[in-house]
């Protein structure tokens, strides 16, 4: 079954959790005991409606403050697809969680409160999803019930949002608009009778009809060796298998490959998945391969097809999003993890800040704080074998790890 990963973003109180709760309710994905607990709590709090946000706001602090503070994953399925929603918080301090959610999603839902229209958060979420090259953006204009389901208000917000698109870097991104009310259930799963002027799909119909082949870009094949399998048993005495996940294209027995960094050329002998051999394996499958020549390969080495070579360098320029409270230090040595490959890295300079909001902010180029996005230059102790993020999402991204705290402090998108 196809799995569709969606991230949601929006401002505080724009009804994100309510929307997700509504989807679960209308697709009959809420089990009886959860539904009962929502009904009970809603009643205790004196609401005259069901507070669907209770279905997702899980942590103690969140219930106290009534806001979402970390990425929560929600699952539901229809007959057609399995869905995973990364519910990311609207609070400005938690941009890092939004970046996290967007990094693994093919679709982003950006919520706008119909009363408030496009706000700073809207721009930030759009910029991040454009930066992360998320294929599809669905702009959900929520709380239409509170603006009397007026078409003019919807059109006005749509126009404002479209103004954000002028400077976007990822122009192929597909953007759609849906007016709805999560609280009342208009256009979420069931078509709204209150908005006859809207002729498009409901949110769920739109998701159901997305074609998965177009949700991944066409990319070159990259195979990083995760683990070398040497059973040394009687039956497999000389077996030397390279386990890893295929990113980009597919691989086939007989393919001529180059091994990085040694630049050895060889061909694929066998492709195993568990105890079965295959002629071909497709994008994103975890396989074990054997090679026709006896080459020395260890974890972190990368196999590519002979006519699809990556860039190789110790100096890279990259956009980064800073994820940690401790700011970037130009004197520090970080660990750069590119896929599964680790090298040491120093930040040479901050080139410029990338603005993600509507406010004019100072171009302070010596400090990077949590949630800042900037272009930086890095020097590495060893070469990485990479592509630009534009050409290859998985081989064009990395994380920076602080060697003292071991925290993941930044994510990078290589130029």
């Amino acid at each position: 079954m196809e799995v569709l990963k969606i991230s949601t973003g929006g401002g505080v109180d724009d009804g994100k959790s309510t929307l997700i709760g509504r989807i679960l309710y209308d697709t009959k994905s809420l089990p009886k005991d959860k539904l009962e607990s929502i009904e009970n709590t809603s009643k205790v709090r004196g609401y005259d409606y069901l507070d669907f946000s209770l279905a997702t706001d899980g942590l103690i602090a969140e219930r106290e403050q009534g806001i979402t503070i970390d990425v929560a994953h929600i699952y539901f399925s229809t007959k057609k697809k399995s869905y995973i929603i990364a519910d990311t918080p609207g609070h400005i301090e938690y941009t890092r969680n939004m970046v996290t959610g967007a990094s693994t999603s093919q679709v982003a839902i950006i919520l706008i409160d119909a009363r408030k229209g496009v706000i700073e958060q809207t721009k930030r979420h759009f910029t991040i999803n454009n930066l992360l090259r998320v294929k599809e953006i669905i702009v959900v204009i929520n709380k239409m019930d509170l603006v009397d389901y007026r078409k003019e208000r919807y059109e006005e917000i749509k126009k404002h949002f479209n103004e954000l698109l002028i400077n976007r870097t990822y122009k192929e991104q597909v953007i759609s608009f849906i007016p709805l009310s999560a609280l009342k259930g208009d256009n979420v799963v069931v078509s709204s009778k209150k908005m006859p002027w809207y002729k498009g799909s409901t949110l769920l119909d739109y998701l159901e009809n997305l074609n998965h082949d177009t949700l991944y870009n066409k990319e070159e094949t990259r195979f990083s060796v995760q683990y070398v399998i040497r059973p040394k048993t009687k039956d497999f005495h000389d077996f030397r298998g390279y386990a890893g996940k295929i990113y980009g294209g597919s691989i086939e027995v007989g393919d001529e490959v180059i091994v990085y960094p040694s630049l050895t050329k060889t061909t694929i002998k066998e492709i195993f998945f568990h105890d079965k051999k295959y002629q071909q394996a497709s994008n994103r499958s975890s396989v074990t391969i054997t090679l026709n020549n006896d080459v020395n390969i260890s974890r972190g080495d990368m196999l590519v097809k002979a006519n699809e070579t990556p860039k190789v360098s110790r100096n890279i320029t990259s956009t980064v999003c800073w994820l940690n409270r401790e700011q970037l230090s130009l004197d520090k040595v970080y660990t750069l993890q590119h896929g599964i490959h680790k090298v040491l890295a120093k930040v040479k300079r901050i080139n410029y800040m990338v603005k993600t909001d509507l406010l004019d902010r100072e171009n302070n180029t010596s400090v990077l704080n949590i949630n800042d996005i900037a272009s930086i230059d890095l020097t590495l102790n060893k070469s990485v074998f990479y592509d630009s993020f534009e050409n290859h999402k998985d081989n064009g991204s990395f994380i920076l790890i602080d060697n003292q705290s071991n925290n993941t402090v930044a994510v990078g998108f290589i130029k």
Binding site: K32, V71, R96, L323, Q337, D394, F398, I401, T408
Partner: protein, 300 residues
């Protein structure tokens, strides 16, 4: 037509995670409860390293309140696959005075096992524990990372979790810390059962409908076949056709009425089911935030 491997995205993701654990850590262990999720984990680990053996041992934290069927099943599986199994008993922690047995109507050893687990981790210096937790089980689990760092007291700090981006897993830790790794984070109960069906994986018989002496309490059905679940005299014992959806500690795992006696009828039943899996676990009903609190204390 070429012999082409068609990808199962969830299976491929789980195998990738298991391989990362084996590669990034020196002393991993797979936490094995005898339940269906951990049996599926063993199957995935087999696939990840074939034709080599699984390069880490299994550890079972034995509450002493297990369904006898699961223990028998566990021992068979371990022998068949030639795996190394470590067993650490909650009873020993009780005898050593490290934890105190709960008493009364709702007594359970479920919380006590955290101490035994942490002691086991320390004894063997495990730096990573692979667990079968899934995000769809419970609200606090929905926020858990795939690689979840625990400090040297086994504590989970929900608000300071490392962000996880793309497929990159950061397993860097200090001495004394460990990582809980959850390969089937993104699977739902239905995904697990569909996989059991597709792969023809054997699981203990208590997951299937059987006749059992039971009694009712708080709307849940409890096993009356052993002395483990406390029963008041006025709680009437009756035979019912039931199965279990989870096989945790007997003292806190209730049964559900069911006539599903095969994997496929169970899959069918879950599709139509209205009670969530953990709805039959009394440990989560203790309070709204029960699971989060237990996780902070080191529970998996």
């Amino acid at each position: 037509m070429k012999n082409r491997l068609e990808i199962n995205p969830l299976e491929s993701e789980a195998i990738y995670i298991i391989r990362e654990v084996a590669a990034q850590f020196e002393k991993p262990v797979l936490l094995f409860s005898g339940g269906k999720d951990s049996i599926v984990l063993v199957k995935l680990a087999q696939k990840a390293f074939y034709p080599a053996k699984i390069p880490f041992p299994l550890m079972h934290i034995d509450t002493g309140h297990n369904f006898p069927e699961t223990i028998k099943f566990r021992d068979q599986l371990v022998e068949e696959l030639g795996l190394k199994l470590i067993i650490r008993k909650v009873q020993v922690s009780i005898d050593e005075g490290k934890v105190r047995e709960e008493f009364g109507k709702y007594a359970s050893r479920n919380i006590l096992q955290t101490t035994t687990l942490l002691d086991g981790i320390e004894e063997f210096k495990f730096d990573s524990c692979i667990g079968g937790a899934r995000r769809d089980e419970e609200k606090a689990r929905a926020k858990e990372r795939v690689f979840s760092v625990r400090d040297d007291f086994g504590q989970w700090d929900a608000k300071n979790q490392r962000p996880e981006l793309f497929d990159m897993l950061n397993g860097e830790i200090e001495l004394g810390q460990n990582v809980r790794a959850f390969p089937i984070s993104n699977w739902t109960e239905l995904d697990v059962w569909s996989y059991i069906s597709k792969e023809k994986i054997e699981i203990p018989p208590i997951y299937f409908a059987h006749k059992r002496a039971t009694f009712l309490r708080d709307g849940l059905i409890w096993s009356a076949e052993d002395d483990i679940v406390y029963r008041e005299e006025d709680e009437l014992v009756e035979d019912r056709l039931v199965r279990f959806r989870t096989v945790g500690d007997m003292s806190c795992t209730a049964a559900v009425l069911s006539s599903a006696s095969t994997v496929d009828t169970v899959v069918q039943e879950i599709r139509e089911s209205l009670i969530s899996e953990r709805g039959a676990r009394i440990d989560d009903k203790r309070s709204e935030a029960a699971m989060e609190k237990r996780k902070q204390e080191g529970y998996f």
